[in-house]
Symmetry: C2
Subunit: 352 residues, 2 copies
Amino acid sequence: MPVHTDDPFLRACRRQPSSRVPVWFMRQAGRSLPEYRAIRGVGSILDVIRQPDLAAEITLQPVRRYGVDAAILYSDIVVPVEAVGFGVDVVPGVGPVVREPFAGKADLGRLRTLEPEADIPYVLEAVHLVTAELDVPLIGFAGAPFTVASYLIEGGPSRTYARTKALMHADPSTWTALLDVLADMALASLRAQVAAGASAVQLFDSWAGALAPDDYAALVLPASRRIFAGLEDLGVPRIHFGVGTGELLGLMSDAGPDVVGVDWRVPLDVARTRIKPTQAVQGNLDPALCFAPWEVLESATRQVLAQGAGPGHVFNLGHGVMPDTDPGLLERVVEVVHAAPGPVDAPPIGDG
Amino acid sequence: MPVHTDDPFLRACRRQPSSRVPVWFMRQAGRSLPEYRAIRGVGSILDVIRQPDLAAEITLQPVRRYGVDAAILYSDIVVPVEAVGFGVDVVPGVGPVVREPFAGKADLGRLRTLEPEADIPYVLEAVHLVTAELDVPLIGFAGAPFTVASYLIEGGPSRTYARTKALMHADPSTWTALLDVLADMALASLRAQVAAGASAVQLFDSWAGALAPDDYAALVLPASRRIFAGLEDLGVPRIHFGVGTGELLGLMSDAGPDVVGVDWRVPLDVARTRIKPTQAVQGNLDPALCFAPWEVLESATRQVLAQGAGPGHVFNLGHGVMPDTDPGLLERVVEVVHAAPGPVDAPPIGDG
């Protein structure tokens, strides 16, 4: 792998000084890029993911266009559960849809250990293809147990997560067993992605912000913590992210990532006070500001840089790139971030 | 009006000791009640609201069933803008839908000052009918300028509020003018509801939690503050609520309500540290827990009582009653809340 130890993204994840603030964008690959729309074809994203050459090309497109400091594999958090036959599709404009939602203990039998080489060879092949061409780190990813469980139980996107919350409280032993098997799957998938060449990983607990802190701590945190612990020996940076998780940042930092992703609701300097001093922050430009005039976007970009200032800031959006985003604006955001001075070590003492 | 000055709800709003913790539920009237479904008929909620006798009866139903300590008028936050002819409907299962969304300065001409007696006489008549029968306070309500504006601009419910954020940043003078006229409308509506008999008001900024704190402070707070200031002379408790507003509680308390509503993401004892010591809290049981076993709901109810303990706690859900909720469970929640001891004054000093 051609990724160097002085890579700005990896150094920022480890809170080391670097020549510049690294930047990448969640959902940088995909629908907002004309070059993606030109090659994607029809069908579900799951069909695309099963074609490693196509998934690899889509992964590389935003790196070429934007000059971002990391690639993230073009994939989906439901790939592992779909691969073991749970019956999930991803409907354009809707999201994951589960034909027979998880309703109780008996449905545990529909899940099993993930064997990445056998179950998701196309994902690993895409990682191989991408990393052979890439000169910045590739981020592998997985869905965190809570968020994947919420799709399996709700049957699709939800605003309330009522079924998920009902099951976790009504049958905590089944809930715990479900999160354990999903944690095992995420861990197996992430380890395999790293073995195939990924230089970092991100665990998406996108919808954990729906939970009360006590429920997160008792019923979600243990499974997420086990994933991060199970990655420790690999020595790659581990990122953790969810939307609307301001109240959970401390608990998500307890789960053990190296980097905590933050959405735009919490200024990064405030976020730093809620996580461990050894952890970096990632974020947090509001992706909706890409529809405001450039001057507003530029000013907000500079504000994120100022609030994130210091070692251990990976610049990103506070959520994924929205489909109608003008890629030209994100190019300019990258320019602004890259023109800013990188974080340096504390100045030597006693130079006065 | 038969509401007494020792009313537990009004006393809690004012942080005065009372015989019990008062309780009501957002969306306590409506779809979850069989007696509502029996009389509602077909058509939009706006058609129902235009029939004062029907709206009054629907408002009274949950008071009879639950024995809650306050009624809230059966109405909708888009009633004023619809009444001045903006062209809004409320589609069952979807929410407010605007036929021609607000797109820019020219659309300001489609809004005007609300004349409650002429524009929404049916609302005021419903208030009269309800308060003639009611022996607990009636809460009048309005939508806060940001949340109403978001419907007008997005054209319907949104997950991203991208158009709203784009407009507020791209054309702040039009945005400010829009929020000003919506603030005037909310204020006129609330003052008229109080004049007609409402004993308290709630301003719903349901979706303000989508905003970064700086944007809220600069572009939303001033209009909301003007509404609360404009109600001060009436002497009725003013409640302010939004979902997912943990990061905004301090700013929403700056807007000047007497009571700050909190969702389940922030424990009430934590919420109290973010608002003024003169303000009461309202909340914050997760409405999704109504789908968990009773033991879970009971335990969560007691936890809310414990975390909210002290003068100035109005028990409520952290968001509205969900449509499929079993009303029998909410009856039991009321029993648990009413069986708990009310907050008392600090004990006299020197009794040891």
